[in-house]
């Protein structure tokens, strides 16, 4: 190309891929729309998993919410539904995520702080008070203790007389990304995988409209991964779960149509759109090649997306509204099935009601004012977007080969491989910001000396004391003998290789708490210390 002066010697995507001045037919030499795109709703699903996409039905607007006690969060749920949100998404606090009760000494200071505190079935009942579980779909972000929390949800439904086949929703239940990125595990990887498989098998049998797992790249990206790494590690985690379920004796068509994915949407607009398209195509191709399913739904990658929390800044927080808008638009143009938009105040604290409403309105404006939802995959056929889609798919496949050679994801995690790749990427990104090679508005350019503070949410400091008191009352009033017997039955089922879910539902009904059940499971399954990568 002719020598002409440009702003920078080299233009790169956020993943570090070199971007050319112009894309044209030469960038798509062996590319044919028949092979690489197909029609929407058809293999390889590059253009979307449904023929009509948002013309048929808009994406689900699902804001992740949880703080304080079950009552506090229940009030936020009712508020969000009144504001036009179409599904619920529960954020649990750190003790719950780590399988500890609110009165555990390790939980001190953490109860209800970054999510809702749930220790008992009674807490779960309060959390969903007045919410029609057969009409609203619920997503629950829980991993280590996922089976326990799911058992509580099912027990609440049972108490209200709602048949399990009318329950819709998603359990995150993705333990591999915990070892890779978010670091909230309870047991070692292999036994954890087995619990995941139990939930998948149980749902296939008894809760057919439930998504038993949400295979998540979100946290991998937040830990510092590039778009390529997010795509590669997430899809490879997905293949690992499929393999585990098939090994446990399930046929792929029994469960694969209910698998779901969860991606991050960061700042690089076109790269993010390409990531969603590449994810669908790569998943369909890999599943077809490795397992030859008969049901086409087994090949369809359904996903939720969330705008990138790690892209938000504490400086000039109003700017976060704009970042989130751009990211949300990318998720929509990428063809997501549901979306969470972050609130502008989330680098400071959990979001206020005001901030969450603005984040939800952002989605509503994209959906109903911008007219982008009028046609399917509007960027399909763009030389640039197709070239990026190809590139992301190829680079993810290169990671697949490396992971295969290492003996799979569990082995790679034990060697610290994905952790190290992510750390290097996060270090590179930070260095680029420090050297001002990448601009973060308000942080390394256009800095303002005076920051204008915004209101932030305060969690009632008394929540912890009240939760502890409630638990103490529960422990004094329940039938301890019945509870202990139910917990022992869970241990026995796990030790004998039976599905954990039926005895777990009985145990939560007998008032066993999250902490008691997780402790009992640790006795059977063991605990884990990660290899430290620095």
């Amino acid at each position: 190309m002719k020598e002409m002066k440009e702003r920078k010697p080299r233009f790169t995507s956020l993943s570090g891929v070199e971007i050319h001045r112009l894309y044209g037919p030469d960038d798509l030499k062996d590319w044919t729309p028949e092979r690489e795109l197909g029609a929407p709703g058809e293999f390889p699903y590059t253009r979307g998993i449904y023929p009509t996409m948002y013309r048929g039905r808009l994406w689900t607007m699902r804001q992740f919410a949880g703080f304080g006690s079950a009552e506090d969060t229940n009030r936020r749920f009712h508020y969000l539904l009144e504001q036009g949100q179409s599904g619920l998404s529960v954020a649990f606090d750190m003790p719950t995520l780590m399988g500890l009760d609110a009165d555990d000494p390790l939980a001190r200071g953490e109860v209800g702080r970054c999510g809702v505190s749930i220790s008992s079935l009674a807490d779960m009942e309060r959390l969903f008070e007045g919410i029609p579980l057969d009409q609203v779909t619920t997503s629950m972000t829980i991993n280590g203790p996922a089976a326990v929390i799911f058992a509580m949800y099912l027990a609440v439904a049972e108490k209200r007389g709602i048949p399990f086949d009318r329950l819709g929703g998603t359990l995150q239940n993705d333990i591999l990304k915990e070892y890779i990125a978010q670091k909230e595990w309870l047991f070692p990887p292999e036994p954890s995988l087995r619990l995941v498989t139990d939930v998948i098998a149980y749902c296939a049998q008894s809760v057919p409209k439930w998504h038993p797992i949400s295979i998540s790249g979100y946290h991998i990206r937040e830990a510092g991964a590039t778009a390529v790494q997010e795509l590669a590690f997430t899809l490879y985690d997905g293949l690992t779960y499929v393999e585990a379920a098939v090994k446990a004796g399930l046929t792929v068509d029994r469960f694969a149509p209910r698998l779901s994915f969860f991606f991050n949407v960061h700042n690089d607009f076109f790269e993010e759109i390409a990531k969603f398209r590449a994810a669908r195509r790569l998943w369909a191709r890999e599943l077809a090649r490795r397992y030859q399913p008969k049901d086409p739904r087994s090949l369809q990658l359904r996903c939720h997306a969330q705008t990138a929390g790690c892209s938000l800044t504490a400086q000039q927080p109003l700017n976060n509204v704009v970042r989130t808008t751009v990211q949300a638009l990318a998720a929509v143009l990428g063809g997501t099935q549901s979306l969470h938009t972050n609130s502008m105040d989330e680098t400071l604290a959990l979001p206020t009601e005001e901030a969450v409403r603005l984040a939800l309105r952002t989605q509503q404006i994209i959906a109903e004012e911008s007219e982008v939802a009028n046609t399917v995959d509007p960027l399909g056929g763009s030389y640039y977007v197709e070239a990026l889609t190809n590139r992301l798919e190829e680079e993810a496949q290169a990671y697949f080969r490396k992971l295969d050679a290492m003996g799979g994801m569990v082995a790679a995690i034990e060697q610290g491989f994905p952790q190290r790749e992510i750390l290097e990427a996060s270090h590179r990104y930070q260095r680029e910001i420090e050297r001002k090679e990448r601009t973060i508005v308000g942080v390394n350019r256009y800095v303002e000396e005076e920051e204008r503070p915004i209101p932030i949410l305060k969690v009632d400091p008394d929540v912890e004391r009240r939760q502890v008191a409630r638990l103490s009352e529960l422990r004094n009033t329940r039938d301890s003998f019945k509870m202990a017997r139910a917990v022992a039955a869970v241990q026995e089922a796990v030790a004998c290789g039976e599905n954990i879910m039926p005895p777990l539902i009985e145990a939560v009904k007998a008032q066993a708490t999250v902490g008691e059940l997780c402790m009992a499971l640790k006795e059977v399954l063991g605990t884990y210390r990660e290899p430290v990568v620095l």
């Binding site: 750190m94 003790p95 995520l97 780590m98 500890l100 390790l106 939980a107 001190r108 200071g109 953490e110 702080r113 970054c114 915990e178 978010q182 670091k183 909230e184 937040e222 830990a223 510092g224 790690c310 800044t313 504490a314 400086q315 680098t347 400071l348 604290a349 959990l350 750390l423 996060s426 270090h427 930070q430 420090e434 973060i440 942080v443 390394n444 503070p453 932030i456 969690v459 210390r529 990660e530 430290v532 620095l534």
Partner: protein, 135 residues
């Protein structure tokens, strides 16, 4: 001012249940690259473990990362334990998701500095370099 040859020894760690370790690892690396001896504790440390390690390793300072909202409890507990052990000379600093309005009380309690999101690594390195040595 006395000049000592030994590099500063800094304990960097995650205290509490929160596993978000992206920031803490970047900071551990930046301090190490700046020539300090960094003892990285890993995840899920209790305040008791942090203080025991700090004393055993004879560190000059403890840097803690907390993103889970438990900062008011955990920083205070670390300071109390240090003081109970007669080790108040070990400087405590930190970072994470800490609302501005919580900062003055934490500083009052004895946290030397709190670095919020977006703080340049150089600022943290400079702060640590200028710390008085406890040994």
């Amino acid at each position: 001012m006395t000049v000592t040859a030994a590099p500063l020894r800094i304990l960097i760690g995650k205290v509490g249940l929160d596993g978000h370790d992206r920031g803490v690892k970047l900071i551990a690396r930046a301090l190490r690259d700046a020539g300090m001896e960094v003892i990285y504790t890993g995840l899920h440390q209790t305040p008791e473990q942090v203080v025991t390690t700090a004393i055993q390793e004879d560190v000059d300072a403890i840097g803690l990362s907390i993103l889970s909202g438990a900062h008011n409890t955990l920083f205070r507990r670390v300071l109390e334990l240090l003081s109970a052990q007669g080790a108040e000379d070990i400087v405590v600093f930190g970072g994470g998701i800490i609302p501005n309005e919580d900062v003055p009380a934490l500083k009052e309690a004895g946290v030397k500095a709190l670095f919020g999101p977006g703080t340049p690594l150089d600022d943290i390195v400079r702060f640590v370099k200028e710390l008085p040595r406890s040994r």
